[in-house]
């Protein structure tokens, strides 16, 4: 096996050496610099992305709208300048043989059809060119109304169901007791899944440090391997400003009293408060961001409070114009109540009667990561990622108590990627290795290693047709359990019919290796006990989608739309299964095969100047092919709609989220959780009124008043768990 990896590694080196004349030829180097301005008001546009097509050269405009691309060999280039809210501009530069300075005028556009995305194919490209359904949220779309929390950010994304650190993309996830996820979450391509539970940590990265959130739906295993079976969420961190820059963001909210006296558990109103603050600076080749965050949430239920403290540091050292090293240090500590489920519907805001409310759950997380980028030539670039992600949790029961839970996990992740362009082809290849070490009273002493190699080639047969062919091989070795090998191929097509219409199609295979906890959990908590299953195998999915995007800004109601039809066939689906011997005992098993078919539809209208209407719906038909019934814990229909209006310094957002009633849950859970069958469709209305006070205070200051769950609608997001009740909040974002 190792010989295979060595051979692959050597072939990668060979490919880029053969394609990399810069290593052997001393050439003259040139610079392209410029200014980017708004064509309507001549104002500088900061944050715009400038890149040379089919090369690794790129830059982001500074606060004065200036950019510089240096060390460019002589040659022909196409410069692409893009910025959210503006039309993308392409400039052909024939035979660059001297330094040049450009003045680039960008025209504002109505819709976001030309966003850039990095996660779809592990390289920066226009979202219209990718073959899977993808979506980008920029910071200004969520900073004012997210409660500074990623769970709230992701709830806005069509096709995603989000609750309690769990994301389900197009029905990929059900109720998994917080162990294992079918969505890979990353920061700048570095995985953020814990080494033991394989779960996401929403509170780990501060929202203020994220420039945009990229979501790629469907099997992502051909490039990202395990856990990307349902899709990928990549948090793209803000670029470090090289001049002095600081910010403060706060959110303060109050949960209103519940409508029913039976649910009123507290004499006073409970609150939620968060503050995130930091600064960045740079000098010469070195620049850094440092920030901290503190939050305290008293919760909307008794024994549901949490306290959170975190630090974030990102440092960048530019060795030259062609290479830089980024270092991340992120830390977070959380102390929270160990809420599991309610006492009953009559007392839905209280934990079940046997809960020991003096017990706290403590979790600590820390990430140290290095990201090295090297432009090897005008058509070849390399990046290397290495990270160490430490997660720890324990509750405060005595260590010899049955309900005591504890786990320490280290995940070491390494990835080397080379991207090279030749002719009409772009080849992305890499090697990846991750090593999970777990030291846990709950899971034992465990080790899981995953070796992987991947390659994807994109071909541009003419200016309109792009094909993508990718393959990834993963080999998983687990101490004291079975080893597994998986091939994950993917094929995609993207055809630009005209400037308004793009067609896309893709088929691929995804897989997920069971997490350490799914295999080895031997724990009991709050009436449930989980038993180990050493024979657990990876789950796989073969699926595909066809879709199109269309926009027409000349129609009497300018609009854009995106439609996808998709199908996923899961084999060996890992589900928490109740024991036939004892219905309080759970074991993770390859319980079933399943098929999820569905349709995604989104429509955005410009109703009148500055007034947008967005409608997004997802319908899925999740069938358990083993039991011939609807797959458990899935909503068939979901919809998200919003109206956005801006006038002068004000902007207003009214959004509505709907999920149909979950049809099917485990019957046995009703024996353990009182009124577990109490569930209804979800209707949640949020609204936000923001004011940009920059004009008055001569600095970038935004104030927002937000109401979450405006109608105070009561629902369960999983059995025995009431969803968040109405929260009134004020947020403030200040940058200088």
């Amino acid at each position: 096996m190792m010989n295979l990896f060595k051979l692959y590694f050597l072939s990668l080196i060979l490919v880029f050496i053969l394609n990399n004349n810069a290593l052997f030829c001393k050439q003259n180097k040139y610079t392209i610099s410029g200014n980017i301005v708004d064509s309507t008001n001549a104002q500088n546009i900061s944050g715009a992305t400038v890149r040379l097509d089919r090369t690794g050269f790129g830059a982001i405009a500074n606060r004065n709208g200036e950019f510089t691309l240096s060390q460019l060999p002589q040659g022909n280039y196409t410069l692409i300048c893009s910025m959210i809210g503006y039309e993308t501009k392409k400039i052909s530069l024939a035979n660059l043989d001297s330094n040049i300075h450009l003045m680039i005028l960008l025209n504002p556009k109505i819709f976001k059809t030309e966003d850039i995305i990095i996660s779809a194919n592990r390289r920066l490209q226009n979202i219209q060119e990718v073959t899977s359904s993808s979506l980008v949220l920029s910071q200004n779309e969520f900073i004012n109304n997210s409660q500074l929390n990623f769970e709230q950010v992701l709830k806005k994304v069509p096709g995603l169901e989000v609750y309690d650190e769990n994301v389900s993309i197009r029905g990929s996830d059900g109720f998994d007791f917080g162990l294992g996820t079918r969505t890979l979450m990353m920061i700048d391509g570095i995985p953020l899944l814990s080494g033991d539970n394989g779960d996401m940590k929403f509170d780990f990265v501060p929202v203020t440090e994220i420039e945009r959130v990229e979501v790629v739906k469907g099997e992502g295993s051909a490039l990202y391997g395990t856990s990307a079976i349902g899709g990928v969420i990549n948090l793209v961190s803000s670029d470090i400003k090289t001049d002095w820059h600081c910010f403060v963001s706060t959110f303060s909210g109050i949960y209103t009293k519940p409508r029913y006296q039976e649910w009123d558990y507290s004499n006073s109103l409970t609150t939620k408060n968060t503050i995130q603050a930091g600064f960045s600076n740079g000098s010469g080749k070195f620049s850094a961001i440092l920030s901290g965050n503190v939050s305290k949430d008293e919760g909307y239920r008794s024994y549901n409070d949490s306290k959170d403290f975190g630090l974030f540091a990102k440092m960048k050292y530019a060795f030259s114009e062609a290479s830089d090293l980024n270092m991340y240090i992120i830390q977070n500590a959380t102390n929270q109540a160990d809420w599991v489920y309610w006492n009953s519907l009559d007392s839905a805001t209280k934990p079940h009667a046997n809960t020991n409310t003096s017990i706290r759950l403590q979790s600590n997380k820390a990430l140290v990561a290095l990201l090295y980028n090297q432009i090897l030539s005008n058509n070849t670039f390399l990046n290397f990622k290495s990270s160490l992600f430490y997660t720890q949790f324990y509750n405060t029961y005595p260590t010899n108590a049955a309900d005591y839970r504890q786990s320490d996990a280290f995940q070491n992740f390494n990835d080397m990627q080379i991207t090279t362009s030749f002719g009409n082809y772009t080849l992305t290849s890499g090697l990846s290795f991750s090593n999970n070490n777990v030291n846990s009273l709950s899971y034992g002493l465990r080790n899981q290693k995953i070796f992987a190699m991947y390659s994807q080639i994109e071909s541009k047969f003419n200016s309109n047709l792009i094909t993508t062919l990718g393959l990834r091989y993963d080999y998983e070795k687990v101490l004291t359990a079975n080893s597994n090998a998986e091939f994950s191929p993917k094929f995609g097509l993207n055809y630009k019919v005209n400037d308004n219409l793009n067609l896309r199609a893709s088929v691929g295979k995804g897989f997920r290796a069971p997490s350490i906890s799914e295999r080895f959990a031997n724990i009991s908590y709050q009436g449930f006990s989980v038993q180990e299953n050493l024979n657990l195998k990876p789950e796989t999915s073969i699926g595909g989608e066809v879709g199109f995007s269309y926009h027409n800004e000349d129609f009497f109601l300018p609009f854009e739309t995106d439609v996808s039809g998709f199908i996923n066939n899961f084999q060996n689906l890992i589900e928490a299964t109740f024991s036939s011997q004892d219905y309080s005992v759970i074991m993770f098993q390859n319980a079933t095969s399943a098929r999820i078919t569905g349709v995604d539809l989104s429509l955005n209208f410009l109703l009148q100047k500055n007034l947008f209407l967005n409608i997004a719906t997802t319908y899925i038909d999740p069938i358990d092919l083993t039991l011939h019934q609807t797959l458990k814990y899935r909503s068939k229909f979901s919809a998200k709609t919003s109206i956005d209006y801006s006038y002068s310094i004000f902007s207003f957002d009214l959004s509505y989220r709907y999920s149909s009633k979950v049809e099917n849950i485990d019957e046995q859970i009703m024996l353990q959780i009182k009124d577990a069958q109490s569930r209804v469709p979800i209707h949640v209305v949020d609204c936000s009124l923001s004011a940009n006070l920059a004009k008055f205070v001569n600095t970038n200051l935004q104030v927002s008043f937000n109401v979450y769950n405006l109608l105070d609608y009561y629902y369960t997001y999983m059995p025995g768990n009431l969803g968040p009740t109405r929260l009134l909040g004020l947020s403030l974002n200040w940058k200088i």
């Binding site: 649910w263 079940h352 009436g527 011997q581 219905y583 509505y656 046995q668 109608l711 609608y713």
Partner: protein, 157 residues
């Protein structure tokens, strides 16, 4: 057209939403009690056959089996397993749909698979004959049940 769309959206916001879940407005009744185990601990069944121990009150007699009656809403049950290897233990049954007549109240033991239950104690004035209990709205009742693992009641299922 635009105004219609806005009107439609606002209408959808406010008409599609009722208040969602609500606590059931009913007075809860309780059947509380004590279970007395007359056997010394050494005479309890072996631990590997004590999968679960609960108090279950059936609305019908004879019941078909424990799991089916519970899932069909025809029986009330203690939410957690009763403690093993003790002299006695308390229990509480919550009844929300009183008035109701409980025709068979028993301590049941799961000794094997999900459907493998047996009656080990019976609320009874005379051995092997279940005593009915009429539970009225908002009232609390206290009963005692005796368990003798060496002399089980007649099994109804």
């Amino acid at each position: 057209m635009k105004n219609y769309l806005i009107f439609f959206l606002i209408l959808m916001f406010f008409t599609s939403c009722d208040s969602g879940l609500k606590p059931e407005i009913s007075q809860t009744s309780y059947v509380n009690g004590v279970i007395h185990y007359i056997n010394p601990i050494k005479d309890w069944p072996p631990a590997d056959s004590l999968k679960d121990l609960r108090v279950v009150a059936f609305k019908h007699f004879p019941p078909t089996n424990v799991v089916q009656e519970v899932l069909q809403g025809n029986a009330y049950y203690t939410m957690q397993t009763l403690p093993f290897f003790v002299d006695s233990s308390n229990f509480s049954l919550e009844i929300k749909d009183a008035p109701v007549e409980l025709k068979y109240i028993a301590v049941v033991q799961q000794f094997g698979g999900l459907l493998d239950w047996r009656v080990v104690g019976l609320y009874s004035q005379t051995k092997d004959s279940a005593t009915y209990l009429l539970v009225e709205n908002g009232k609390t009742y206290f009963i005692d049940i005796t368990v003798d693992f060496n002399n089980l009641p007649k099994q109804p299922f």
